[in-house]
Symmetry: C2
Subunit: 436 residues, 2 copies
């Protein structure tokens, strides 16, 4: 078998066999196949795509490049959630303790933010002491204590994904549905979950800008997971406007705590409850989504979800006090209000521009090697559907001194669109794709 | 400027600017852009193509990676010919001295054979002493003495092409019209010719199997040459059946000498005279192709073309005696005749199978690193259109002992197709594409 023949076969749009996919991935990891051959292959995949079956073979070959998370002795059912990323997307922070409070076990591997989208790891690391680079024994201990764990990618799990993602990043082959699918699923499978719920974001603040793309990715994730004998379901959610009222690492952690206290914004709660409910059905805890949503709502009302959140923070080395005191936090920043230039109803609050403003003030990363500031962020006072008077606060910007303030305010003032007519607030949930 | 942005731009089918093309090629040659980025770029070009203008920019950037052949003090007009390669294609061996005898000056850079197609350098090196790796002073001396020179690719001329071709070869990106065009044209321009005639072969024994592909390449060569301000013309010729009666290095040199003595097969003469005539028109020696064909025919009839051939062989260090004595040569090989299993007319003589049989006996290369045997080859006694009796000789195989003999005979016996009806012999010239 020769790598060049496999490249040509894919270039011609043919489906690869298990042996061919394994030959490529194994050879690449063993450095027997050079970067330049894999780069040409990845570009051929960009143009010719892969069947779900073939994407499953790629996922499995990548998965086999490392070890699996050892969960022996830990009680299931293990069900995971993955979001394709958005602006103000703190769902994981609420959903993980909520699912744990409903008796699911949730071993989650999460990422950092890049560009206008934030990352769960960055958000949690804004809690002083919170550690996400964990050893296997710690992971087991945290799961036993809190019912869920949030870890960074490790060297042992799916090294092929790290190596391939780095290559895709510099060869213009990131935006490929099968490659995105295999990257997501290989990491998700490595942590041992038996089922997944995918939150595929769609809109200006998401990776997928239109619904056709989002549906394509959702279908690929669900069908490929099925070919790997994992239960899966995808929910396509609206990401044209930031999720909730906050964008920024610590701000989002605080908002997540509010959600777990039953004081969360409607959109965050809608998405969180629906995704958690699907996880509960996949895990066999509930038989239908309505019943599952009610159970989840009870676990927020009775405080058990918040307990899991605080337990997890302690287990992962964080100071749980931080999340109980938002006043203390805000004193660390320079506050600037953006006032409404108009009277009317907010018809648009552009997630993309708000996400970029967050990067500008240091809440997110322009480049992978940048670091993020934990405290800076944006608090939306008005969002889509809200009535507003001229001169009323649209948002408050929290910055580190003046860092990025002017540029951010310029971006932010272009983010809002006003209407003289009443604007209806729509459901965030656009479509649900089952694995069948 | 970042390489990844240029890759993405091409991936999206946009046309690159001069600055972008130069950034990529220059960066690649200076090793600032790694193989893997160029590999991804090449695959994107495979799928998205390049405009003629863009292909011209690529050609020029490749050309600028090295020096140009110094022709100061040598009298023009400098006109060159390029063939895309076929089986039994000894046109260059006849055309170059013929063009020189008609007062053109022809500095030619030629290649070696690979797969079923032969290479001019391999053929000429079958003449004892003939050297094709030449220094610039030698090139000038040979041009002054013989009016044409045949040289191998050097380290100084177009290093970008050598580096890029080696990468294309292992990344499945050889079969791309703009990349083929830039590779051919950059080498052709480096030797300083002001005009080119392209012989684009089409058929089973050619790189381009069907006429649509051949026309696409012909058009790309002619239009790109025009964008580089070179005069150019392409002739698409039939390569379903070997050209002439011989396939094999020394055998083809001997057949070329026969052609120059006025004893060449009709098809080789037809193509040679037409291509030479176009060169003479491009060079301004003649005003139309008919007149030019007549001039070329006279230069064969008066022996001046053969004189140039013998002069060139001597100038390039070869023993001109060799090409005057075919009997001596044939005594070096084991002769085996393939007899006709049928009576009728030859309707097909498959160039691809005959080319592969030639590789099998060592006349060509299966892999780039193989060497070739100068004396072995195939002499066709019957070709398309010939009547044949059962048991009559179809061809004679010349082998080095028994090396490859059995396998070659198997391939060769499958190469012929017979018809009970008379088969018309068609012109080799399928189409001519002007640069306008």
């Amino acid at each position: 078998m020769r790598a060049v023949d496999i490249i040509i076969k894919k270039r011609q749009g043919q489906e690869l066999t298990r042996e061919e996919v394994e030959f490529l991935v194994d050879g690449y990891i063993k450095q027997e196949i050079p970067d330049y051959q894999l780069a040409a292959f990845l570009m051929a995949v960009f143009f010719q795509g892969m069947s779900f079956q073939e994407t499953g073979l790629l996922t499995r070959a990548m998965l086999n490049s490392g070890s699996l998370l050892d969960l022996t002795g830990i009680q299931g059912p293990f069900i995971d959630k993955h979001s394709t990323g958005g602006v103000g997307d703190k769902i994981t922070l609420v959903l993980a303790p909520l699912a744990a409070a409903c008796d699911l076990t949730v071993p989650m591997m999460c990422g950092r933010g890049l560009g206008h989208t934030g990352g769960t790891i960055d958000k949690l690391e804004s809690i002083p002491g919170y550690r996400t680079q964990l050893k296997n024994l710690e992971i087991k201990k945290i799961l036993a204590e809190a019912g869920y764990v949030i870890m960074s990618q490790t060297a042992e799990l799916v090294p092929a994904d790290r190596k391939m993602y780095a290559l895709r990043d510099v060869t213009g082959t990131v935006e490929s549905i099968p490659l995105i699918t295999a990257s997501i699923l290989s990491k998700k499978c490595a942590t041992g979950a038996a089922g997944f719920v995918f939150d595929v974001k769609c809109g200006s603040g998401a990776f997928m800008k239109d619904s056709a793309q989002a549906e394509e990715l959702a279908l690929s994730l669900v069908k490929t997971a099925a070919s790997l004998e994992r239960k899966a379901l995808a929910v396509i959610t609206d990401m044209n406007c930031p999720l909730g009222n906050t964008v920024g690492n610590m701000l989002e952690v605080l908002e997540a705590a509010d959600c777990l206290r039953g004081k969360g914004p409607a959109d965050v709660m809608e998405v969180t409850l629906r995704l958690t409910a699907h996880m509960l059905v996949l895990g066999g805890i509930c038989s239908d989504v309505e019943q599952a949503e009610k159970l989840a709502a009870r676990r927020i009302a009775d405080g058990s979800a918040l307990d899991k959140f605080l337990l997890n923070i302690q287990s992962q080395g964080g100071n749980a006090e931080t999340v109980m005191n938002s006043a203390q936090y805000k004193s660390l920043c320079t506050e600037t209000a953006l006032l409404s230039p108009d009277k009317g109803y907010i018809s648009k609050c552009d997630a993309s521009k708000i996400g970029l403003a967050a990067v500008t003030i240091g809440a997110g990363r322009a480049r992978k090697e940048d670091s993020v500031l934990p405290h800076v962020g944006i608090e939306l006072k008005k969002t889509v559907g809200d009535p507003v008077e001229k001169g009323e606060k649209l948002l408050v910007l929290y910055t580190d001194g003046d860092r990025g303030k002017e540029q951010a305010l310029k971006l932010l003032s272009g983010a809002y669109t006003f209407s003289i007519q009443r604007v209806e607030r729509r459901s965030r949930i656009l479509r649900e794709l089952d694995h069948i």
